[in-house]
Symmetry: C2
Subunit: 401 residues, 2 copies
C-alpha cells in the first residue's frame, strides 16, 4: 500500500451531483491503494462564470477583494457536496476551504500566488483516516482576506499541496492525457506516455491548454510527479516528470494559439526611442505583445509587426489611435485571420538543424509564414488561419507526433 496522493478534479468532473458520485467511486477505489488521500476540486461546471456575471451586473469594475470573496464560494460549494457524498458512501471525509487548509498567498486580488502552505491541519485529518477535500483556486493573505489564484489555480493548489506532502499529484480532467498535437487538429495524434516538465511548460506557455505553466513550474521545482488523465476512463494518461530520453525526438509537441491577432505598422520611424515609446504604451494599456519583427523600408522607415491576444483588440485600437495622431505617415493593418503555431522539443537543444528542417517542410508544402521566433526548445510561426490544417498535418506526419 502506497503512502500519499493528491487527486485533483476539474469543474466538468464535478458539474453535477451525479458526476460527483462517479468521482467518489474513483476516490474510494484509490483509497484501497493509498493510505492518505487529499482531493482538490474546482467549482461546479459553469459556477464561476455565473458568479462573474453577477459581479458584472453589480459593478463595472467590481472591487477585487470582494471579487475573490465572491468567486471563492464556488469551490466552497463543491467541496461541501463532495464531502457529504464521501461520508454518505461510508468514506470518512472532511472539507477544508483554502483558509482552513493553510494556503497562504500574496499578490494582487484575483491573481494571487501561493507563498506557503501550513499543512498541519491537512495532515492531522489525513492521520485520522479521513479523505481531506480541499478547495482549489483559493487561499488567504496576511490580512486574512480570501484570495484566488487566477487561471489554472486549482492545478496549482493540487501540485503545491503535493510538493509540501512530498507525494505525487494526479490531475483528472476532460482530456485523456497530453498529446503531441491536439487530436481535434490531427486525428492520428499520439498520446504521450511521459513528457518532461520543461517541454510541458513550453507547450503550456505556447497555447496548449491542458495545464497552466505555473503548476508545472512548482512540480519541477519540488520534483512532484504529475499524472494527467481523464476522470471518465481508466485508460492511461500522461506523466509529467524529470525525464531524459535515451534518444530524443527533435520535436515532442505542436501547439496552436488561435486567439491571436497580428498588427503591422508601416512607415514607422526607424528610431529606437520611437519604437520603445510604442511598446511602453502597449504595455501601459496591458497589451501582452508576443512575437515582434521589424524590417527596414526603402524610404528610411521601418515596417513593424507584432502579435498579441485577440482579446486585447480594444486596447490595441486605443494605442494605434494615439500613434496615428503622433506619426502622420504611418499606416496600420490588423489581421485576425492568423494563428500561432509552435513546435516544442527539448531535443532541439542538442540536435541542430530542426529549424532548417522546419523551413524546408514549410517550403515543400507552400506554407508561408509571417513572423517567426525561437526559444531554446521551441520555434513559433505566425501563419494564415487557412494554412493551419495543412501545416499541422505536415508537421505531425514528418515528426511522428
Amino acid at each position: 500500500m502506497e503512502n500519499k496522493i493528491v487527486l485533483k478534479f476539474g469543474g466538468s468532473s464535478v458539474e453535477s451531483i451525479e458526476k460527483m458520485q462517479q468521482i467518489v467511486q474513483k476516490i474510494i477505489r484509490k483509497k484501497e491503494k493509498y493510505q492518505q488521500i487529499v482531493v482538490v476540486v474546482s467549482a461546479m461546471g459553469k459556477t464561476t462564470n455565473q458568479l462573474l456575471d453577477l459581479a458584472k451586473q453589480a459593478s463595472k469594475s467590481p472591487s477585487k477583494r470582494e471579487m475573490d470573496m465572491l468567486i471563492s464560494t464556488g469551490e466552497q460549494v463543491s467541496i461541501s457536496l463532495l464531502t457529504m457524498i464521501l461520508n454518505e458512501q461510508g468514506q470518512p471525509a472532511i472539507a477544508l476551504t483554502g483558509f482552513q487548509a493553510g494556503i497562504k498567498t500574496a499578490g494582487l486580488h484575483t491573481k494571487n500566488k501561493i507563498l506557503d502552505i501550513d499543512t498541519s491541519k491537512i495532515e492531522k485529518h489525513l492521520d485520522s483516516g479521513k479523505v481531506v477535500v480541499v478547495a482549489g483556486f483559493q487561499g488567504f493573505n496576511e490580512d486574512g482576506d480570501i484570495t484566488t489564484l487566477g487561471r489554472g489555480g486549482s492545478d496549482t493548489t493540487a501540485v503545491a499541496i503535493a510538493a509540501k506532502l512530498k507525494c505525487p499529484a494526479e490531475i483528472y480532467t476532460d482530456v485523456e492525457g497530453i498529446y503531441g498535437v491536439d487530436p481535434r487538429l490531427y486525428p492520428y495524434a499520439k498520446k504521450l506516455d511521459v513528457i518532461s516538465y520543461e517541454e510541458m511548460k513550453e507547450m503550456a506557455f505556447l497555447g496548449a491548454k491542458v495545464m497552466e505553466p505555473r503548476s508545472i513550474e512548482i512540480g519541477q521545482k519540488y520534483g512532484v510527479v504529475i499524472y494527467v488523465s481523464s476522470s471518465l476512463t481508466e485508460n492511461g494518461g500522461t506523466y509529467i516528470k524529470e525525464y531524459k530520453k535515451v534518444e530524443e525526438k527533435s520535436i515532442t509537441g505542436l501547439s496552436i494559439s488561435e486567439k491571436v491577432m497580428m498588427v503591422t505598422i508601416k512607415n514607422f520611424p526607424n528610431h529606437s526611442s520611437d519604437i520603445a515609446a510604442l511598446f511602453i504604451l502597449l504595455a501601459d494599456n496591458e497589451v501582452n505583445v508576443d512575437m515582434i519583427s521589424q524590417t527596414p523600408t526603402e524610404n528610411g522607415y521601418i515596417n513593424l509587426s507584432f502579435t498579441a491576444s485577440a482579446d486585447d483588440l480594444d486596447a490595441i485600437n486605443e494605442v494605434l489611435g494615439l500613434m496615428g495622431k503622433k506619426y502622420h505617415d504611418i499606416e496600420t493593418v490588423k489581421n485576425i485571420n492568423v494563428v500561432k503555431l509552435s513546435v516544442v522539443g527539448s531535443g532541439m537543444r542538442t540536435q541542430s538543424g530542426v529549424a532548417a528542417d522546419m523551413f524546408k517542410l514549410f517550403a515543400d508544402h507552400n506554407i508561408d509564414f509571417m513572423l517567426v521566433t525561437t526559444s531554446e526548445i521551441s520555434i513559433s510561426y505566425t501563419i494564415d488561419k487557412k494554412l493551419m490544417k495543412k501545416a499541422v498535418l505536415a508537421i505531425s506526419e514528418k515528426f511522428g507526433l
Copy 2:
C-alpha cells in the same frame, strides 16, 4: 450626527442586483445621519433553499459540518455583491464573512449560538470610514470550522453586533413593523409604534414570525433598541425596547401558529411513570411538545392530549407505534385541522380577569377550544382551524388590536 448603527436586510431585500441597488441608496442616505454603519445581510432570496436541495441530492443525512460550510456561501455571495455596489456608488465599503467579523460560536453545527464577537476588525474598518458589510447567520467555532446560527440567525448576528458596539439595530424586512395581529387575518390590524422585549419575545415564541425570540433576548439583555421596518417604504416601523406604559392594555397582540397538530391518546394508564416514559420518548425523538392536558376517564385510565409542530408527524407516528405495542388498550387520534391562538400582554400581570374576559368572549361567539395553557403574560388556545377567522375577528375587535 449620530454615532453608530447596525442595519440588517433580509433575503427578500437582497434577492436581486436591482433590489441591492435600492438597499445601497438607503445605506447611503443613512450615512448622512450616522458616522459609522454596519450592514448585516442574509443570503439572496431563495439561495439557502437551493443549497439545501443540493445537499439533499448529495446525501440523505448530509454531514452537518459540511452543511454549514455549504449554506454559509449564500451570505458570502450577498455581502460581496452588496459591497461591490457600495464601492461602485462611491461609498467605500468592505465585506466580512462571519469568521472575518470575529463571530465566535459554539454548539451543534447548523444550530450554533454566538459566544462572543471580537469586533476589533469591524471597528478598525468603521474607523477608516468604511461601511462594514457583515455576513449574517454565520460564525466560526473553536476548531476554526464555519458554523451557522439556525433560523433567524441574521437577526441574531445584527443584534449581537449592536450589543457589542453599544448602538441600536434596525431590522429591515418585508413587513412594515409589528402588528398586534397579522393583517392578513384581520385587515384593520394596527401597527404598534413600540412593543416591549418581553411582549415581543412571547409573541415570537407563540408563532409571530417577524423576529426570532433569540435576537430579542440578546436585545433585552444588552439594552439594544431594535427598530423593525420595511426596506421598501419610509413609513414608520416598530421599536422593540424596554417600555413601561402609563396605562397598559390588557392584550397587546394576538398570534397564530398554523403548523400545529394535536394528538390525543385515549385509555392511557394513569401512572406518572408511564406518562413520563411517553414524554421522554417524544423528547428522544426530537418532538417538541407544546400544550398538554389530561383528563381521567370513568374506567380508571386517562385521556391525554398534546400539541406539537406538524413537521414532527413522522417522529410522532414512530412514538405512537411503539406505545401501541406496549399499551394494547390505547387508541390514538391525530388532528391536523387545528391552530394555536395566543393572546399576549404584559398588562395581564397586573390586570386580573383577562382569562375570564376571554372565556366569556369564546362562549358568546360559540368558539370551542380543545386545550388551553397560560403563562405570566399570555394565554394560548388550541381551536379548530375553521374557527380561526371568527376568533381573530372577535378578539381583535374586543381588545382593539
